[in-house]
Homo-oligomer: 148 residues x 2
């Protein structure tokens, strides 16, 4: 799942379907089945203090959640939306913005896919961290819903 | 405070200091002392379903919070950052995205400014709603901190 072609496909999907991701300079760095890693340059996403804009941090974290679900859902007709999110901004991000979505446990993923197959609707909680030079800068938790 | 010149000044500040706001097409619509209203076109901020991207909704709500604090702080040397946020996405936004930040009560604002003058640091909770055709689509609550 970590092959280069797939990463470029997701990036193209983002750029084509969610145009602000192109303006943000989002790149899909890695997906190894354990985590999905996105990045965006500070030059396009800074605020008035020269650190990462809170809105860009939130957008990149949200995108990492969407991305992970798209990669995991076998049923590509599912519509994925975000229902709730909570963010804690612990420290400013001064360099490249890197958002990492951890793959949920096999059990959680199985329940999510099973509920979707059965009820045409399912939800899942995803944790994303944004890191700067290896330190956690932002903690994000999002509830995502898949609908037919 | 609602005069056109001031609104254009804030817009210019956003564009110059937070470049992603230009890519989002953010406009400062109104500030009447009761609420600050920002807007952004769906054409630049849609997702793969043609509705507003969750990341753009979050970014516009965050910006409305920043904007209100900048308008209210007499001390323009303050650095304002976001510490926490919670968002509830209730319904999709299909048309123009409009984010409305309510001005906190006089008491809350007084406490915030007083704490900042005294301790060089103060925090305040702000509520923002995103509306679509008059219905609340997103509820946002953010904790913002002003630092010297």
């Amino acid at each position: 799942m970590g092959d280069e072609r797939l990463l470029r496909e997701i990036e193209e999907f983002f750029y084509e379907k969610i145009p602000i991701t192109r303006a943000m300079g989002v790149r899909v760095i890695k997906y190894d089945g354990g985590q999905l890693r996105l990045a965006a340059p500070i030059a396009l996403n800074h605020n008035h203090l020269g650190t990462a804009f809170g809105g860009s941090l939130s957008a990149l974290a949200t995108l990492a959640g969407y991305g992970l679900i798209w990669l995991e859902m076998e049923d590509k007709t599912a519509h994925v939306v975000i229902r709730r999110s909570e963010l804690s901004f612990r420290r400013p991000v001064r360099g490249e913005i890197v958002a990492i979505c951890r793959r949920p446990s096999e059990d959680q993923l199985w329940l999510f896919k099973h509920a979707f197959a059965l009820h045409q609707k399912a939800k899942i909680s995803l944790d994303v961290t944004v890191e700067d030079e290896g330190l956690v800068a932002v903690e994000f938790r999002g509830i995502f819903v898949a609908l037919r």
